[in-house]
C-alpha cells in the first residue's frame, strides 16, 4: 500500500495542518517509507494472537466516584485569550 499526494493532503486537512506542495511530496515519501516497514512486518504470521490495545500489559486503575476537583475557573481563565460571563470565547463556528 502506498499513499498518493491526494491522500496526504486529505490527512493534513483532517488534522487541520497546512501543508504546501513541496512539503506534501516530502511527507508522502516519509509516510510511504513507514508503510514499507509495515508491509515487511505483515509477513509475520500472527494467526491466533490477540491484538494489543496498549503497549503495556496492565489493566486500567479505577478512581472512586468522589468529587476531588475544586472550582479553579479564575486561574484557568486568566490565561485564556478571551472570556466573558465565565465563558471561553472562540471564533464563531456553526456547523
Amino acid at each position: 500500500m502506498s499513499l498518493s499526494l491526494q491522500d496526504v493532503q486529505r490527512i493534513a486537512h483532517l488534522a487541520r495542518i497546512r501543508v504546501d506542495e513541496t512539503e506534501a511530496a516530502g511527507y508522502q515519501a516519509q509516510l510511504n517509507g513507514i508503510f514499507g516497514l509495515i508491509e515487511e512486518m505483515q509477513a509475520v504470521d500472527t494467526t491466533g494472537i490477540l491484538p494489543m490495545s496498549h503497549a503495556q500489559d496492565l489493566s486500567q486503575r479505577l478512581r472512586a466516584d468522589v468529587i476531588s476537583e475544586p472550582d479553579r475557573r479564575v486561574a484557568f481563565q486568566a490565561v485564556a485569550p478571551q472570556v466573558e460571563n465565565g465563558l471561553y470565547l472562540v471564533p464563531k463556528v456553526i456547523e
Binding site: S59, Q60, R63, I67, S68, Q82, V90
Partner: protein
Amino acid sequence: MKWETVIGLEVHSQLSTQTKIFSGASTAFGAAPNSQACQVDIALPGVLPVLNKGAVERAIRFGLAIGAKLNRTNVFDRKNYFYPDLPKGYQISQFTLPIVETGELKIQVGDEEKTVRITRAHLEEDAGKSLHEDFHGEDGRPLSGIDLNRAGTPLLEIVSEPDMRSAKEAVAYAKALHTLVTWIGICDGNMQEGSFRVDANVSVRPLGQAEYGTRREIKNLNSFKFLEQAINYEARWQIEQIEDGHKIQQATVLFDPDSGETRMMRSKEDAHDYRYFPDPDLLPVKLDEDWIEQVRAGLPELPQQKRLRYQNDLGLSAYDANALTASRALADYFEAVAGGLAKPDAKLAANWIMGDLSATLNREGLDIPASHISAAALAGLLARIQDGTLSGKLAKQVFEAMWAGEGDADAIIEAKGLKQVSDSGAIEVLIDEVLAANDKSVEEFRSGKEKAFNALVGQVMKASKGKANPAQVNELLRKKLGAE
C-alpha cells in the same frame, strides 16, 4: 406500492455519577459556566484521564439488566474531530471493544410484545456546550461562548438493531429503555436537561423487500413526542422522494419542532472521518467476575420480571402489568397498596391506582412520589370497600376527602357519616316508608314494568342519603314486593 419503515435508535444516556468519567470534577446540572471544568476537562497539556469506577459499574448494571454479553476486557479509543466544545480535539469513546454487546429489550406495543435487539452499549465522555449568542470581538467579528461544565460527563451510548417498524414501536422502545435506565438507577432520565437523548436511523423499503433502504440519521431528539413526529415526517419524506424518482442519499438531519420537518445537516460526502485508534492514555479495562456478581446481586427486580409476576401470580392483564411497571416508583406504590390489604386483591389495587389515583395525579400534573395519598392510606380505603363499609360511590367521596388532606379513610367515614348501611332491619324500615309513599310505582311494577323497580331502588337509596348497601336494597325490595 406498500412501504415499510425501518428504524434503529442510538440513545445517549447520561450516567448518574457524582463526578466526570475521567476527572474528579462535579457533574451537577446548572452550575455557573466553567465552574465544574477542571484541567482534565479543559484539556490542559500534560493531564491524564483516570477512569471513574462508578461509570463502569453503571455500564455493568445495564449490561446485566438486558441480558447482554459483558466484555471482560474493553478498550477506550479516541474519536478525532475538531470543534471548540471538544478541547482535546478527540472524544474518548469505545469503538472496537465496547463494554456491553448483544442484549435485548422486550417492549409492549398495544397488545403485542416485541423484542428489540441491542447491538452494543459503550462508555464515552460528553462534549461541552457552545453558546452561539451575541458575542463579538474588538474588531466586531462574531464569537461563540464555550461552557465546558458538561465536558467529560459520562455517557452510555446504547445502540439498537434496526428492529423497529413504526414510529410507535420506536417510541415504545425508547420509553422502555428510559424506564429501565431510571429503574436500575444509572440515569436520572431528565430529558429537559439532556440526560436521555435519542438519535433515530430511519430508512424505508417496499414491503417484503429483504435489503434495507438507504438511511438518514435524525440527531438529538429530546422528547418522545418529537421522536414520533420526526420519524413520521422523515419516513413520509423518503417515500415521496423515491416515488418521485429520486434516490435517498445517506445524511445526517436535524428535526425542527416548530415546522415539524427534518432538514439536512451534512451529507455523506462531508461525513466525519473520525480516525479511531486506541487511546494510549488509558489501559484496557478488565472486569473481574466477583465485581460483576456483586453488581448482579444489587440489581432490583426488573420491569420485565415484575410484568410477568403481576400476570402469573397476581392475575393482572398484560395491559395492567405494563402500565403499573412504567416506573419503579409506581410499581413500588402498587405493591405497597396490594401488600397492605388483609384480603389480597391485586385487581382492586390496580384499578384504583390506574383509575382515580392516576386521573387525579394527571389532573394536578404530579408524579406518583408526590401523591397526597400514601400507599398505606390507599390500602386503608380499599379495606373499607372490601369489608362492605363503603360502596364504590362512597369510596370515591372518601378518596377525594383523603386527597384534600382531611385524614385517613376511617376518620373521614366517621366524620362525614359515610358508613354504608348494611343492617337489613334499618334498610327494611326505609323500604316500607318508600313503598307506602309510592303506590303508583308499586302498581306499575306489579303490571310488569321493570323500570318502576329501578325507580323504587332509587327512592330507597335517596332516603338513605346514598348510604344503603345497593345490593341489599335490591334483594330486600324484591323480596318485599314478591311477598306482598
